[in-house]
Every structure is written in structure tokens, then in C-alpha cells.
Symmetry: D2
Subunit: 284 residues, 4 copies
């Protein structure tokens, strides 16, 4: 392997589990911006002692300070930037454009792991399990035999649909491309075109949206079984028109950011499995 020293700089439980994962892989790992870790006395010492710096997901919630929910102090983003030199490899999730530009001007190599395809795919598994939990909690029937619609057949939609199918649900996937229909059909599930949300009456027990584009508006909701539970997995601007859903008295569950909630340890390991191969490359 290589002998990088990792600095886990801020974040929630996932960051601590990520550190644990890296330690188990044989790396030297230090922590800063957690109340209960005492690797270093100062941010400067922490950064100077490390080769690879892993920033949290999300990187910041206020654009000024680092996202450090397990730390009583604040860490200013500007303070981090002031300490970074071109020898560091920097990882972070949902890095703002301005931060990236600053890193580039310092000739720092960096990678926003939230944009990695593999991270999104790995995360689809805890996301699907989170939805399984929601469905078990919210409906009085078993997933086995439940008439489920999955909107979208991208990275999340695929794993979602397969997970529900493997639990015995009666799954229909809504997609747009003929190649998606072919894949769904090869997986023994049913498919419909998104247009059928308007043209057909749709008698589902639950509908899970994975598409971050409005696909379930008033017209579509008017053709949907009013007892159908709606689960929103996509991020803003969302696929469900919440206002229309409320007016029509649908039960809606907003289930965002599931990996960190239902399986923080797995979510931390997923970050580790996604960034480790990249640290071995010369350039990020």
C-alpha cells in the first residue's frame, strides 16, 4: 500500500467510522474538530502532520465554518485554506465552487467524493434499506405483496427496485428510455413510461420517487390511489409536488440523507472505499 497519514477533519459519526475504517485498513489516522479526540492541539498542527485531509459531507452548512456537529468550537473555512499547501490531498463532500477555486489557486489536488459515481451507487444500498424501514413503519401491510412504484431507474432507482422486488413486492418501475425498460424487464420487474402517471389510474400502495425533477404534480396525483404512501428520496428540487400532495391529503414521507441516518458506520466505510483508490493515484 502507501503510507499516507489521514486527517479526519470535522463531520458527524460517519467521519469517525470512516477513520475507524481507514485504521482497519492499516493507515495512520488522526482527528481534529471532535470533542473527544485529542490528536492535536491546533488545526495547524493537525494539517501539517497529514498527507490526506478528509473533510465532511456536507462540507459546510453556513459557507463560513466547517460542518462540525461533534465539536463545540468553530473551524473557519478561511483558516483551513490558509494552512493548505500544494502537497496536500483534500477530499470533501459537496465542496462549494469558491472553495474548489481556492484549492486550485494553491495547486492543491482535491476531490469532491459526493460527485463520485461509486459513492452514489454504494449509498443506494443504505438508502434502499431506509425506505424499507419507512414502508414497514408506515403501511399496515407487508412489503411482500405490496404494490410499489419506483419513479426513476438511475443509480438509486435500480437498487431500490431490486431491493423491494427481492422482498417480494409487486414492483413497477417508471422510466423513460427503452434501454431502461429492457434492463427492468431483464430483472423480471414491470415497467411503465412516466407518461402513464397521467394516462392510467395507478393503484399503488406506495410510490418512491428517486428523480430530482418534478414528476409527481397535481395531474399525476389525481390519477393515483389516494391511500398510496409517497416517499421522497430525491434531493431538491424534489420529484413530488408537496403542496399538491398535501392538498390531496396524501401521506408523504421525506426520506433524504438516509445513509447517514440508517447506517452511519456503513456510510463512513463507503466514503473510505470510495476515496482510498483515489489516494493511490498520482493526481486526484
Amino acid at each position: 500500500m502507501n503510507d499516507n497519514t489521514f486527517l479526519i477533519l470535522g463531520g458527524d459519526n460517519r467521519a469517525l467510522y470512516l477513520g475507524e475504517y481507514l485504521e482497519n485498513q492499516g493507515f495512520k489516522v488522526c482527528y481534529y474538530a471532535f470533542n473527544h479526540t485529542e490528536c492535536y492541539n491546533s488545526l495547524e498542527e493537525a494539517i501539517n502532520s497529514s498527507d490526506v485531509i478528509v473533510l465532511p459531507l456536507p462540507f459546510t452548512k453556513d459557507r463560513l465554518t466547517l460542518n462540525t456537529p461533534l465539536f463545540d468550537d468553530k473551524v473557519l473555512i478561511s483558516d483551513i485554506l490558509a494552512l493548505l499547501s500544494h502537497k496536500k490531498k483534500v477530499f470533501g463532500g459537496q465542496l462549494p465552487k469558491s472553495f474548489c477555486e481556492e484549492l486550485e489557486s494553491r495547486d492543491c489536488s482535491y476531490c469532491d467524493y459526493f460527485l463520485l459515481d461509486e459513492l452514489a451507487i454504494y449509498n443506494a444500498v443504505p438508502t434502499a434499506e431506509g425506505v424499507v424501514q419507512v414502508l414497514i413503519e408506515e403501511l399496515p401491510i407487508t412489503i411482500h405483496g405490496m404494490k410499489c412504484a419506483v419513479l426513476g431507474y438511475g443509480r438509486v432507482g435500480k437498487v431500490m427496485a431490486n431491493t423491494l422486488y427481492s422482498l417480494g413486492a409487486d414492483v413497477t418501475v417508471f422510466a423513460r428510455k427503452q434501454s431502461a425498460f429492457a434492463e427492468i424487464s431483464a430483472s423480471s420487474m414491470k415497467y411503465k413510461h412516466f407518461d402513464a402517471l397521467i394516462t392510467d389510474f395507478n393503484d399503488f400502495d406506495a410510490m418512491i420517487n428517486t428523480v430530482p425533477v418534478k414528476v409527481l404534480g397535481s395531474a399525476q396525483l389525481s390519477k393515483l390511489n389516494p391511500d398510496c404512501v409517497l416517499v421522497e428520496v430525491a434531493s431538491a428540487p424534489f420529484g413530488i409536488d408537496f403542496q399538491s400532495a398535501k392538498e390531496r391529503a396524501f401521506k408523504v414521507v421525506k426520506a433524504g440523507s438516509l445513509p447517514g441516518k440508517v447506517a452511519p458506520k456503513t456510510a463512513g466505510e463507503i466514503i473510505g472505499r470510495s476515496i482510498l483508490p483515489i489516494t493511490k493515484e498520482d493526481k486526484l
Copy 2:
């Protein structure tokens, strides 16, 4: 079909869902011992107007009165017996021996549906989903990849193991019979003899017991990963030695009677699917 009139007499939500199921199958269904149903003015009228009487699961909690959690009054078991004649078909769950003897002396045909093999198998599905919910809630990792042990390979153990396997868990089933090992192996899962609970160190993330006989005592717990979450699905006298587990600081989840909790509608339908074929037979 036939033209039986069913009386749903007492019980929880499952009983109401059972009634709904029977109505959807085209049967005449009446209710007694629920606050919000007004089919009949008296127990006598209710029983006299029906051919098939479906009593709840469990039938009673105090051996004197019927189990009627959705009814503000009481219904005495002796009152029911006084009204039953040989023309009635009686179904109930966990009927006490004394009650059955009274029914026999009245030449009533009856059936304890809790003893039906098919009901136990159907119920294994909501039970397995209930455990899925527990595991998602209690562990910081996904079921996908989780090292799970299932103790027992009976009706519940089979469905449990297959459900976890289909979610991508690394499942090991503990059983005793060579024929069970063959079945487990045909399902592509791993198996071990119960003896291995003592002879091996067992590094599981979760262990689910389905055997109503003490199989997880102090000796077995001493060989188990102390972070392993223990889930008890079996009924008394249970498979887990709760006292030993507590002393060793294991996290234990008692997950009994899951079908009625996680999927009361499905649980009600299961009772319906189990008793309907029997009502068509001449003798129960």
C-alpha cells in the same frame, strides 16, 4: 362459494382487517365487541345471526373474558359458551383447553387457527419484515453485508434466513438435522450445527433466534462477539437466556408477536386466507 355469514367477535385491528378481507371475498360479515361497530344490539343476537364465529388471537388474556381491546365493555367467555350450539363453526387463536372441551361437549365444530401450519408460514413473512426493521433501527450498518446468524430452520427460520439473504446479508443458519443443512445449502446460505455455538468463536453482527427452547445460554454467549445484537423472535420459554445476556451486556431486542404490530392488515388477511378453505370443509 358458500353463503356463510361471519361474525367477527372481538380482537384488535387484525380482526377488523380480517372482516374487511372476508367482505372483499364476497361474504356477509358482522362485528361484535368493537366500540365503533353497531351490527347487533346483543351478543345473543350477534351469535344467533351467524354461521361462522371468528374469535381473536389471542382468545383471552385473563381466562375469564374475551380479548377485546377495541371494546369498552367486557364479554364473558361463559356468556359466549352459553350461546353456542352445534350448528356453529368456531374459529379462534390460542383457545384454552377448557374452552375446547366445552365446545366439544356442545358438538360445536371448532378450529384453533393459531395451530395451522399455513398460518404460521404466512406469518413468517411479517415476522421477518419486523426483524428487518429491528436490524435497520438497531445497528449502524446495513443489512447488506451484515453477518447474521439465524438460530433454527423451521417455518419462521426459513423465511427469516431467506429474507436476510435476499437483502444481501451474510447469513449463517444454525440447525441440527442433515436434511436442514442440505436445504440451507441448496438456498446458497451457510450453515452450522448448534454445537458450534459453543465450540467456535462466533463473530456475528446480529443473531436472530426462532427456537422456543433455550439455545443461547451463558456458555454460548461467552463465545459470541459482545457487540452482536440479539433478537428474540420465539415465544416463551424463549431461546435466549435473558439474564445471562444482560449480565454480559448484550443488546437484546424482544420481538414477539410481530405480524400484528408491523402489518396488522396483512395479519388479518392471513387469518382469513387460513380459515376460509376450512369453512368449506364439512367438518373443521
Copy 3:
């Protein structure tokens, strides 16, 4: 383990693969009644040098001589009996009653492994794969999407149905017991009562029988899609009325004894996995 010496006495390739399996498990294994093995000069020497004697499946085809298709000479059953003493453990498949009685009179412990539940279950896997091969060969459509009926839900029927289902077939299992229906339904497949073979028109692409009792006679065939391919997996007296099927011009494939044909090595190992635990018991 123990230090038994095994004698593989006659049989086809499965017997040789069985020997190989036992050797890989660390046992001393010798062979007799194969052209290309030279462990011993005589049957007497062979038997006297061994603790456990494994006879083939089937044991005999003519009731006089051992079934030795890979041997140019003959081995008389009477010669074997003359050499067996009470210290030997004898295994064989489909042992005739008379042979068993002779063994008992000699106080030999013996076991007909063909009667073992676990062997039948293990063998269901190669049997199912053999049927998969037949269906791929005989029909111009893929198993994926094929309308398949499986008659019977015993040890073979279960694995057969699950195998076809996992390949994406549209599987309906015909069974009789409510508990079987519950199991089939828990596995997300469709079921019908055997009676429906007469009451419904049955539009299947392929029908696989696993029941060794006539279930598919003229009346049933008259209600079946005439292009349906019939596959007989059961042994005599068979479930398909071949005469009626011929008259109605059905394509029929007799697919008996599949494990030895499609996977002789696995079939040999299955015998080994089935008998090994038994050799460790004091009494067979």
C-alpha cells in the same frame, strides 16, 4: 475425525468422484470393480482391508450382480455377502430387501443412502439444473418469461420451482396442501390446486412433473396448451400418462436420474456429504 478406510466397490463415475471427495476430506480410500484401479487383487482382499464399504446407486440392475459399468468382470452379490462380517459398515443405494435382510442376519450395520432425506434434497439441485438444460434445448423461447408449471412441491418440486423463478420464469406450482400454498406464496410464486388441472384451461409453455403418481392423465392433458412441453422428472410409476400424451401429440421429455448425468462429480460428492456424518455415528 475418524480413521475409517473406505472401499468404493463398483458403480459409475459418481463412485469415482465420491472416492476423490473422500480422499480430499483426508480419508484412506480404495477401489474395487473398476478397470483402471488396482488397489487390490481380489474382492476378498478389498473387503477385508476396509471398514466402510460403499456400494453403488443403483446397487444392482439384475439382482444377481453388482452394478459395475466401469468393470469388465462381474461381481456376484452372493460373493459380497459371503465376505461381509458384523464389523463392516455398508452403504448402498436402492438396496434390495433381500440384501438388507442378509446384512441384518450377519449383524452388519448398513444404510441405504438413496433413502436419506438430505441426499434427495442435495440431488434436487442437479435435477433442477438438468431440467433447465432440457428447457433451453427444447423450447425456442428463454426460460426468462416462460410460463412454467411445476407439479408437486416436495423436495424436488421446491428446488425446481425456485430455480426456474430465479431465472425469471413465470412459475405456477401445483400442490394440494394449504401449507404448501403458504410456502409457495412466501416465495413469491403462484400456486394452484391439482384440481385446477381439470377445471381450468392451462396455458403453459412447459410443465415439469415431480410427483411419482399419475397426475397428468387424459382429462388433464385435454385442458392443456397442446404446445406445452412436458418434462417427467419423477420415477416410476410416473406422473405423466405417456400413452395419452403421445396420442395428443405432446412433446414429452423423460428426464430421470439427472444428477448422475448432468453433474456426476457433484452427484458423487453429494453421496459423500450424505454418508460421512453417518459413518461417525456408532450405529448407522
Copy 4:
């Protein structure tokens, strides 16, 4: 729907099944260049009477005449071109560049269905079943438990790997991209980088190549279990170095063009399902 008249012009059984499929969908279908169909007296009449012309896969084997294995006469490609006008919609498989250019110059709309993503995905299913048949025939063990390597995780590799996994094989997929590893892992299979073909000793029972680029040369074969059966599914220039494989005495099965061989009816329907949505578009 629309009221197109389809002309099936040449091809093998798949073309006839394609016609049957289109008829079942309610379309008017005619045939030319089959011995046993008599829709038209001449190619001219056939083409003039149709709106959509479906040419075979492959379109030609000699670049001069149409591929018409079920026709005793020849059909010259130049004769077809002479009759095509801009009103026709033309479909064909593996159309030569020159033919496409001629179509363009005539302002004909055309589509090479062999290039459609959806067709490749649908075809992956019969391809995978063909490989299943090969493995059952060629190896003395069951697929259940077989150590299988799948080289490549594209459209064919995915379905191949999932099919073998669902039959209980111990599947390792060789791929290159981290996102592929994530997908494989979400499907509960093992993965390795192609580089491991050289760095590790690889103890597989069977290796299936789906990559049309040399990935299994002398160096890789030298690290492979010599009993491993090699199955080539990719088209030229192939992934297996056949010469090296021969020198090292590997058993190699060239399994090309499986859909038409193992499931011609399904293969014909797949062409139909792939082209039908396109005929409804204004422009192909």
C-alpha cells in the same frame, strides 16, 4: 397504435418469429424471401405494398446478396436499393456503411437495430441462458457452487453474472471501474480488477468472457487453474487468445450469436420489441 404494414424481408427463424410477434400486436405483416411464404410474386410488389421493411440480422454475409437462409433464390442488395424510396422506413441488423449511405442518398429513414442499446440488453438474457446450457453440458459439477468468473460488466456481463449468481454459483466479476465494483458489490457478488488475472492465481471452474478485446492472453492463462473451462461470448476480435489457450490445453467453447441459437422465438420478439417503439417516431 398505427397502421403500418410490415415486410419481413429475408432472414432466419428469428425473422419469422418476429413477423408472428408483430401480427400478434395487431399489425399487418407480409413476408418475402422465404420458401414457404407466398405473400407476393415479386420483390417489387413486396416492397411497394409495405411501409416498414425489416431486413435480417445479419443483413448480409457476402456484401452482395441479402442473408436469406430460408430461401432458395437470391436477393441482390442492389435490387432492394433500386426499389426503396423516401417513404419507407427500413430496419436491419449490422447494415454495411455503404448500404446506409445509399439509403441516406434516397432520403430513406433507417435504423440498424443491432446498434440499439435495448436490443443488446434484451439479448443478454438468451445469451446468459446459452452459457448456462454450455456450463451444464461441459462441466461435471452443478452451476450451484461452481466458481465462475465473468470478464466484463457491460450489458452482457451484468446479466450473465446475475444469472449465474441466482443459480447459486460463486461468482467473481472482473471489471475496471470503481463504479462497476460498487454495482457488483451492491448485487452481493465478488469483484476483482482485470489486473488480478495476472497478479493472482485464479482457481475458477469456469471463466466467461464478455469483452471484445484481448483480456485473456498467455500471461493470464498461466495463472489460471488448467481445468477451468473457458467460454467466449464476445464477438471478434474476442477476449480469449485462442492460440495460447490451445497450447495450454484449456477447454474453450466459442459461444457466439447465442440468442438466435438457443431461443430464436424470443430473439425474434426482441427485435420486435426494439423496433416497434421506433416505428412510432416521426424519424427513425
